[in-house]
């Protein structure tokens, strides 16, 4: 008799959704979280005023060097003294990089995982993306197309809440929207001019997982509309932005079917060769080092792309000597992220008599992919989208001329309006980009360290060079001045925090790990619905897609349990 109907490993973006859907189907679910519990009322720091945090809310420089060199190096904009407890300490959770490579593995180990620190931009994939591998031959074909996923996108979007505008773009299908954050007048002017000059390009409002017209269901979970504070990286006491901590985990909890265990680091998954089923999860307690085994009928791996692959690789048996469900040798391979490092900044005139009220969270405009939409018409494969916005330059942090009254008064004025756009490009799947178990180094709990080996191909370099030129051309078309585009310098792999692909889905068990239900080809009661399943990266922010697949897989698993198959 198993302890639970299902175990979900990880409580982040996809784990929360898996847990919600499974518990709402009546299954008894255990969620294992490797980090400590986050209690919003205790641990969110979004209500601190600027003067309530010492030292400009900056983490001490020596402390950064000792504990956060990777995390801070990757996302300095998000890590402050008051919210540093949301980020892992690199010295406590180390990893290794293959010689000649560098990787930003940016993490939060606690209830809700990175869903409480994300940047909240959400976009659907389209058949342009699901057909991509088949079209150009990189990677394997997705075993699913958009139509099959569409109702699950709708289900997830209705629950999480997305502010955005319907645009009818085939390459970026519309979501279920709440009202968008309206563009600034400068952004509207840019949109008009750019779309006139480049008819195939569109400038739309960023689609963000913030409530702007909360539904009854969302309010029943204690969520309310965004208060436009832009304090999201500190948690949100209004629960206005989506996170598993704000939404899916409370929804799961209110079913009465959820059990959560914190500080539970998964070391391996138990496999029974006779029944060809996974039977349980072995963990080590992060605080006490106690080792425990939890059993269940099905297991959902949602530990995040790298960690889930590591757990599989650590779960060796006679049947799977190189790691659980690794018959294809694809576990840990095809590790992808998005790539940035190209964009442009400029000034736009005509708006000096305007300012904004409120601090709009998470971006302003999005320029959906326009490259290679109707065939290969660019010197690179796939494409990119731009994220950006236009706002008054505002307080320049003292970096404007003058002293005295005039200098002081200058800070009251919004200042000139600046425009910025930055590319998020698709990285091609490449089996040589991978995570493996380090041969000798272990963490403090005895688990092997991740060894990351990821490099970019010529395609990503060419794409970003072209994106840089496109960015300048669009700002020129918009009438901007003082346009600057720094030399293209690709972000480190992992830096966009969209890692994916380490247990890809596909048609063929010989070349892929999962089927179209995120179910392991070789072990039917094992599901992986974090970014691991992604067969290609597309260029859209992926969390929404992870959640849609999670919901779909959870219902499929519940159906199989109900009919007695699992």
């Amino acid at each position: 008799m198993a302890d639970f109907d299902a175990i979900v490993v990880g409580s982040g973006m996809s784990g929360g959704m898996s847990a919600k859907e499974l518990t709402e189907r009546g299954l008894k679910v255990l969620v294992l979280e490797r980090g400590p519990e986050i209690v919003p009322e205790r641990d969110y720091v979004d209500n601190l005023a600027p003067w309530e945090s010492p030292n400009l809310d900056s983490v001490a420089q020596d402390e950064i060097a000792e504990h956060y060199p990777k995390q801070y190096g990757g996302v300095a904009y998000a890590i402050k003294e008051s919210n540093k407890h949301f980020w892992v300490k690199d010295d406590e959770h180390p990893y290794e990089e293959a010689e000649g490579t560098s990787y930003d593995w940016l993490r939060g180990y606690h209830t809700g995982g990175r869903s409480i620190m994300w940047s909240r931009q959400v976009y659907r994939l389209s058949d342009l993306d699901f057909n991509a591998n088949k079209t150009d031959g990189y990677g394997v074909d997705w075993p699913i197309r958009y139509k099959e996923l569409e109702p699950w996108y709708e289900k997830v979007e209705t629950f999480i809440g997305i502010a955005g505008s319907a645009e009818g773009l085939p390459q970026l299908p519309d979501s279920v929207f709440q009202p968008a954050f309206e563009l600034t007048d400068a952004e509207k002017a840019i949109k008009t001019k750019v779309e006139m000059t480049f008819p195939e390009r569109n400038i739309i409002a960023a689609r963000v997982a913030h409530l702007t017209d909360a539904t009854d269901e969302q309010r029943s979970l204690g969520r309310s509309n965004c208060q436009v504070r832009n304090r999201c990286h500190f948690g949100c006491s209004f629960k206005a932005y989506f996170s598993s901590l704000n939404a899916t985990l409370p929804a799961a909890e209110r079913t009465g079917n959820l059990t959560m265990v914190h500080n539970a680091i998964v070391s391996s998954i138990e496999y029974d060769a006779e029944t060809n089923r996974v039977t349980g999860v072995r963990i080590v307690d992060a605080i006490t080092n106690e080792k425990r085994l939890y059993t269940s009928k099905v297991i959902f791996l949602n530990a995040s792309t790298i960690a889930s692959a590591m757990i599989l690789l650590q779960s060796k048996s006679e049947a799977f000597p190189t790691g659980l469900v690794n018959r294809s040798d694809q576990v840990g391979r095809n590790l992808m992220d998005h790539v940035s490092g190209a964009g442009a900044v400029g000034m736009i005139s005509g708006f000096d008599n305007q300012k904004v009220f409120g601090r709009r969270p998470s971006g302003g405009i999005y320029i959906p992919r326009y490259a290679n939409l109707k065939g290969q018409d660019k010197p690179y494969l796939r494409g990119f989208g731009f994220q950006g916005g236009s706002s008054p330059l505002g307080n320049a942090g003292g970096q404007i001329a003058g002293i005295g009254r005039d200098f002081k008064e200058a800070h009251k004025n919004p200042g000139p309006w600046r425009v910025n756009i930055g590319a998020f490009g698709e990285q091609l799947p490449n089996p040589e980009n991978r995570v493996t178990l380090h041969s000798s180094k272990r963490d403090r709990w005895g688990n092997p360290l991740a060894l990351l080996h990821v490099t970019y191909s010529e395609n990503e370099h060419t794409m970003l060079e072209e994106a840089s030129k496109d960015a300048v051309a669009m700002l020129e078309a918009a009438g901007c001045t003082n346009i600057t585009a720094n030399d293209v310098s690709l972000t480190k792999p992992g830096n966009r925090i969209h890692e994916m692909g380490s247990a890809r889905m596909g048609h063929d068990p010989e070349s892929s790990v999962l089927n179209s239900w995120c179910q392991a080809h070789d072990v039917p009661n094992l599901f992986i619905t974090d970014g691991s399943f992604m067969t290609s990266a597309a260029c859209q922010n992926p969390s929404l897609t992870y959640m849609a697949f999670s919901a779909r897989a959870a219902h499929y698993a519940a159906d199989l349990i109900a009919e007695g198959t699992l």
Binding site: L56, E409, H411
Partner: protein, 178 residues
């Protein structure tokens, strides 16, 4: 609202100084001789310089100034608790260079200069620093600390910038009345 001189006097008294100030001119120099023991990072001379230039960069107007907001004390804490040794050394060097530049322009000890001379000296130095070919990164950084510290205080954020904790709505197009 207390006068700037009263603020400086108050600070001096609070650290045990008993000097009676008879004029604003030279106040920072008197201040510097008294304050060394209460700062954690700055020497008394450095603290006097930071105090003087903070006051000149962000003076009290209809709203509180840098001294009202205790920007020098904030920066002392910043250097003590946040900065690493490299930043501390660079900051000390910058202050030394700034002092040298301002002494030269004031034709004497900048801290002894009259308000008008001090203001003219710093304004000229600032103008050069922010000129297209300006080369005063140390000064710019110090000015950045002054400004950021000021706007991170309650005086600077809520009184000067009118920072609102909970805007509650987004208006992307607010016309500024002249």
């Amino acid at each position: 609202m207390r006068t700037r001189r009263e603020i400086l006097q108050g600070l001096i008294v609070s650290i045990g100084g008993a000097t009676a100030l008879t004029a604003c001119d030279g106040v920072a120099n008197v201040f510097s001789t008294q304050l060394g023991s209460s700062t954690r990072f700055y020497t008394s001379a450095e603290y006097a310089l930071v105090t003087r230039i903070s006051d000149l960069i962000i003076p009290r107007t209809e709203t509180p100034g840098a001294l009202d907001a205790n920007v020098p004390g904030y920066m002392d804490g910043l250097m003590t608790d946040w900065a690493n040794s490299e930043t501390k050394n660079a900051h000390r060097m910058a202050l030394s260079q700034i002092k040298g530049e301002l002494d030269r322009r004031a034709r004497g000890n900048f801290l002894d200069a009259s308000d008008s001379v001090a203001e003219q000296s710093l304004a000229a130095f600032d103008e050069e620093a922010f000129a297209e070919d300006g080369d005063a990164s140390g000064y710019k950084r110090v000015k950045g600390y002054v400004s950021q510290s000021y706007f991170a205080t309650e005086d600077g954020a809520s009184e000067e910038l009118k920072w609102v904790a909970v805007p509650g709505r987004w208006n992307p197009s607010v016309k500024i009345s002249s």
